[in-house]
Amino acid sequence: MGWGTAAPVAVEGTHRLARMPELSRAEVAHVAMLARIQLSDAELDKLAGQLDQIVGFVATVGEIAADDIPPMSHPLPLVNVSRPDVVRPSLSSADALAAAPDAQAGRFAVPRILDEE
């Protein structure tokens, strides 16, 4: 049923469309962290049920026979667009940094990216 609650990470190549999807609270928490959203317990309680219902609905795309149909990623036939490789005006460093939460020495200052060891 959907993702096994004990093993929240999807297994490559498994499609379980025939069964009703079921998205558990633990699975929602796992996917939320993949999307870098730290949900509170109260939010998990609220969102998990709603997401399970929504996944049940969107899974009905599987009811239409489309095996031999090409996928459509975009409404227009896309062609490569390029322009001459010439220097043109762009944002100044000050403009680019103006909205930064933190800046230092003309650069974005970010929290630590390595473990403290």
Binding site: V31, F57, I64
Partner: protein, 513 residues
């Protein structure tokens, strides 16, 4: 000038954009007068409507003075030069806050203009301010705005539609003669329907997306929100056309929308009624007005045919996979590092960048945005991609094929724009699935990239406005205006006055100026 001959603000704000543009061009009104009248109207009624997140009186009046000076110098920038406009808060405006209705972008001032903004400025339209919307354009009611909902001018206890409810409400409440909206699944057309206004989603690629905060890149399109078909065409012409800054922009002239809006000739035109979206699930009053509109078009010489689009029934499910998938990717850039909100997790002494990201995105995004990001991340994850996103893309192909086949039999397709009139604020807020069902008639156009328009076609049994949707083949946006203008003229003949004359007067704040 004697006081009696001075036009009152109320007279000015009720005039259409084309009319105001002509009055400014012939010198009978100045842009400053027109802009000030709308700023006054905003001050009077926006406490109750809440269409605006930010009003830029100073900037608008400076642009109005510039428009008046340009006219005095003999310059003709556009037929709408000097006519003020409201812009949805998802469109980047240099120097003016742009939040997309989200807490995560509170106070963000873009360092550049969207192409739409650049074109409005070049055409001489003063920008009154930024309009409210569902956060990142996710929603059908504006209730998902982090800054509180907009209220429908027809009934302040009801939703103005969404996501662009602020733009439509501003136009319906005479706070602006024109507004810019964006439409990913109906966010221009559905708000137009429930507020008794006109809204167009151009052909995908018809208006540049450069500088629009992306929701779903393969579906998003900006377009006009107005009170008449001609006003929409004039604005469409200004913002449309090729842009090198958007690689999906169509490299072709803007379709002849203004000529079509002035003509409004449907004689001999084949109008297709889509069987799958015309009956079941639609409010009786919505259906009744739709049937009457078909008769009016028939009386003007159109031929009504019925077409089947069998794959449309899976459009909603496909859309709610494709949109969250693209959104989960587009919204990954809100990572608390370069701009926008940054908060640390509580009780962590030296949090990592990853922890700061996750805490910020929890604090900065609202519930609907979280639901869709999580859904999209899930749909794109290994093992589920084929069954969800991949299958949705195949359904998208089938929907595009349905359109292609239908346009063999009909020059345009028509449906009611929304299944119901405006519902009560709060009614569907905690039932996301019920909210999604609002989009059933509007999303096929986004999935296939074809243009669509909604025009007001009456009041339902509850006294609230209904919308009539017109869909045309890609790049034939002119046909929307041809049919829209014809139906608008027929309805006006019947009503004797624009539909918004029937809207109740808004409570006006007592101000001393």
């Amino acid at each position: 000038m004697s006081p009696a001959s001075v036009p009152s603000s109320n007279d000015i704000v009720r005039r259409g954009a084309a009319d105001l543009g002509a009055a400014i061009a012939d010198g009978s009104l100045s842009s400053v007068e027109v802009t000030q009248a709308h700023l006054d109207r905003i001050a009077d009624v926006d406490d109750s409507v809440h269409a605006f997140l930010h009003v830029d009186a100073e900037g608008a009046l400076a642009a109005a003075r510039a428009a008046d000076e340009a006219r005095a110098a003999g310059e003709t920038r556009s037929p709408l030069a000097g006519v003020p406009i409201a812009v949805k808060d998802i469109v980047a405006t240099k120097g003016q806050p742009t939040t997309a209705g989200s807490r995560i972008l509170q106070g963000w001032i873009p360092p550049y203009d969207a192409t739409v903004t650049t074109r409005l400025r070049a055409a001489g339209l003063p920008i009154l301010g930024k309009t409210n919307m569902d956060e990142f354009a996710m929603g059908s009611s504006t209730e998902h705005s982090a800054y509180g909902p907009t209220h429908n001018p027809w009934d302040l206890d009801r939703i103005p539609g969404g996501s662009g409810g602020g733009s439509s409400a501003a136009v319906a409440a005479f706070e602006a003669p024109l507004a810019i909206g964006t439409d990913t699944g109906g966010s221009i057309r559905q708000p137009a329907a429930v507020t008794g206004t006109v809204g167009t989603k151009p052909t995908y690629g018809g208006v540049s997306r450069y500088g629009l905060i992306a929701l779903a890149s393969s579906l998003d399109q900006a377009g006009p929100c107005t009170r008449s078909v001609l006003d929409a065409a004039l604005l469409h012409e200004i913002i449309g056309g090729h842009d090198v800054m958007d690689s999906t922009s169509i490299d072709a002239p803007v379709p002849g929308v203004v000529e079509a809006a002035r003509r409004g000739d449907v004689a001999g035109l084949r109008i297709g009624v889509v069987d799958e979206i015309s009956g079941e699930g639609f409010q009786p009053g919505v259906r009744a007005r739709f049937e009457e509109s078909l008769k009016l078009l028939e009386a003007r010489g159109a031929e009504i045919v019925r077409v089947g689009c069998p794959s449309f029934v899976k459009g909603l499910a496909a859309y709610y996979l494709i949109l969250p998938s693209e959104a989960s990717s587009n919204l990954a850039k809100f990572d608390a590092m370069r701009y926008g909100l940054r908060v640390g997790p509580q009780g962590v002494a030296s949090p990592s960048a990853e922890q700061v990201m996750a805490a910020t995105r929890d604090a900065g995004f609202g519930d609907e945005v979280k639901r869709r990001i999580i859904l999209g991340t899930y749909a794109l994850s290994a093992g589920y991609y084929d069954a969800y996103y991949g299958q949705a893309q195949k359904v998208r192909t089938l929907i595009a094929r349905d359109f292609a086949a239908a346009f063999e039999q009909a020059d345009v397709l028509v449906t009611p724009t929304a299944p119901t009139t405006a519902f009560k604020l709060g009614e569907k807020l905690d039932d996301p699935m019920a909210m999604y069902l609002n989009d059933v008639a509007t999303i096929p156009a986004n999935l296939a990239g074809v243009p669509g328009m909604s025009i007001p076609n009456g009041l339902a049994e509850d006294g609230l406005p209904t919308g009539f949707q017109i869909l045309a083949p890609a790049t034939r946006d002119d046909r929307l205006y041809e049919v829209g203008a014809a139906l608008e003229a027929a309805l006006l003949e019947q009503w004797g006055a624009p539909i918004l004359d029937q809207a109740p007067a808004l409570p006006v704040r007592e101000v001393t100026r």
